[in-house]
Amino acid sequence: MIFVLEDTINGILMGSIYGLTALGLTIIFGVLKVINFAHGSMLMVGMYVAYWAVALTGLHPYMALFVVVPVMFFFGYYVQDLIIKPIFKAEKEVREPITVIIVTTGIWYILDNLTLLLFGPDYRILQDNPLRGKMLEAGQMLISVPKLWGFCAAVVTAASVYVFFQKTRMGRAIRATSLDREAASLMGINQYKVYNIAFGIGTASAGIAAITLVPFFNVYPTVGVLFDIKGFIIVVLGGLGSIWGAIVGGIIIGLIESVAPQFMTATWTEAIVYGLFLLVLFVKPSGLFGVKYDW
């Protein structure tokens, strides 16, 4: 019984981090209506930035937020502004511009290979940091402290993005654009600026996810791919474009991955995750928190 509780807690903690890695994907899709295939690579870039920020300064990993979040925001902002926007303009008439998806795939390959070139294929992990290997002991239970921090970061980030979208003028402009970009443009909203900012926010949230991972996960050039695949499943499960859907979807995956292996071999959990993914697509294609109608 205590085992199930221990695994449930680990599942929720790790799952919320999965949710956080997928948050940017869902934000960018919600606004731009584009699946960003480079999202995993953005996460990878964030992990390298966080890794070097902490390794060079010796700060607490979460202090790196002050470096990673602005760096990643502007990185995303300018990737959208300089690379994706021109394609968007060329395909103005198309509702879900497919070429943009291809461009994001290109960005993914370029980022991964550039990192490979710059840093080599080595696996890096932060050796000495205040969170490394820390565990909370509760009776027989062991709970990972860095994952607990990750859980808090996920909830705080999702809540702040949610509040930002609901309460601020910019947030309303973003939501308006996501509902109907032409009508929003007619109301005087600069559509492309909104895209830049949404992409920036999505990338910055990948940066936050990167910080939650860096204290306990390996950093290497293709690390993004692992989270990319998971991210797609999570956002479809939670509903594309839904912020809380991403977190809840992540927690569901985390729970399956953590609790199920105690009753079967770990390889089976993958089958369950994909099975659930297909089931959701059959029964509720819009996902758990997705909107049923099309905008």
């Binding site: 695994d7 790790m14 390996n218 989270f227 292996p261 770990a266 390889t267």
Partner: protein, 417 residues
Amino acid sequence: MALTWGKTLSRVLFTTVVGAALVLTAPLPTMAADDVVRVGNIIPLSGPSASVGEQGKFAREMAVEEINASGGIKALGGAKLKMLYADSESKPEKGVAEAERLINSEKVHVLTGCWNSAVTYPTSAVAERYGVPFIVPVSVADKITEQGFKTVFRIAAKDSWWTRDQFSFLKDMQEEFGTEIKTVAFVYENGDWGKGFAEQWIKLAEKTGYKVVLDEPYPSTATDLSPVVQKIRRARPDVLLLVSNAADAILLTNTMAEYRVSPKAIIGSGGGHADPSFLTATGKNAQYVFDIVEWETDINKAGAKEANEKYKTKYGQNLTGEAVDAYLAMYVLADALERAGSLDREKIRIALSETRYTDGQGMIVGYDAVEFDQSGQNKYASPVMVQINDIGKGMERITVWPKNARRSGYEPVFPMP
């Protein structure tokens, strides 16, 4: 037309007959017509395995230079070894074609290669057909020496011996340190490699009488291995055997340290555990982990250190398992040629099959002898076990088994504290 052909044919026949007569009447010991031993080497010099192919080439060259410099093959009047290289590109069909070419056009006396088991396997059939002795330094697939061929001679241990030796190691350690092992756990990546190892482990455990408390494959792409680690923690095995790729080996080692999983011994199977970044990425968490490997630079064998130094200055890298086996293969060949005293392929083959090479030059491997069994497999071949430990110079891999090869002055830590 027909007439010209007939003429040419008769001329060719004449030359051949006279040529053959000349060869036959030539005085044997001096070997006037043929004072080189042509050694055909089929290795991957381009393509995905090019770097190991290159290591094999460097090592062969180093050995051959040494052999030739010290007077060549004395029984053949100081005949020199002449190396002919062919690139297999890691492709089976290339290997087969190159073997045909080397045998028929280049008239090689001996073949070696091909590193990739997939290339060695079909190529060995070509060598067998022409009766050319085929020395295989490293290809590990069991089936290579299980075809009933007479011409194939493998120096290195075969695949199934890796698991065998992990268990022999455990047995020896129990005897040496008086710690009893009752339960084992198997945790492995769910590819061919991991599953293949696990199948053999289960049989070995049954034979040895260990109780298997956990048999757990996991996906190598896992982002969270704490569920697997929890299972290990709850199963409380005496010994944990692993097959992992690099990223998961690191994640598993670090997560096990977090959850304070501490069995009596953790044994890796090379791969991820042998990756250069494994040591830096795990730091103290990898301390006392055992790993199985072809060869290690600190091996306690006469000449090993010198050979490594020489290789390093010549080629700018340390000797590897691949290189060492290729290096030894050349000395085994030289030894056989001395005993054969002839360039006749069959005589060389017989000499090779009677090999008993124990302490000559090139014997810098972990095991103590080269002696081929009926199938052409070196009976004494075995990988070595290393322990990761810090003895004042940071974490390093220290050879501990076989005991004869153990780094002098090192006392293995068993069981893990």
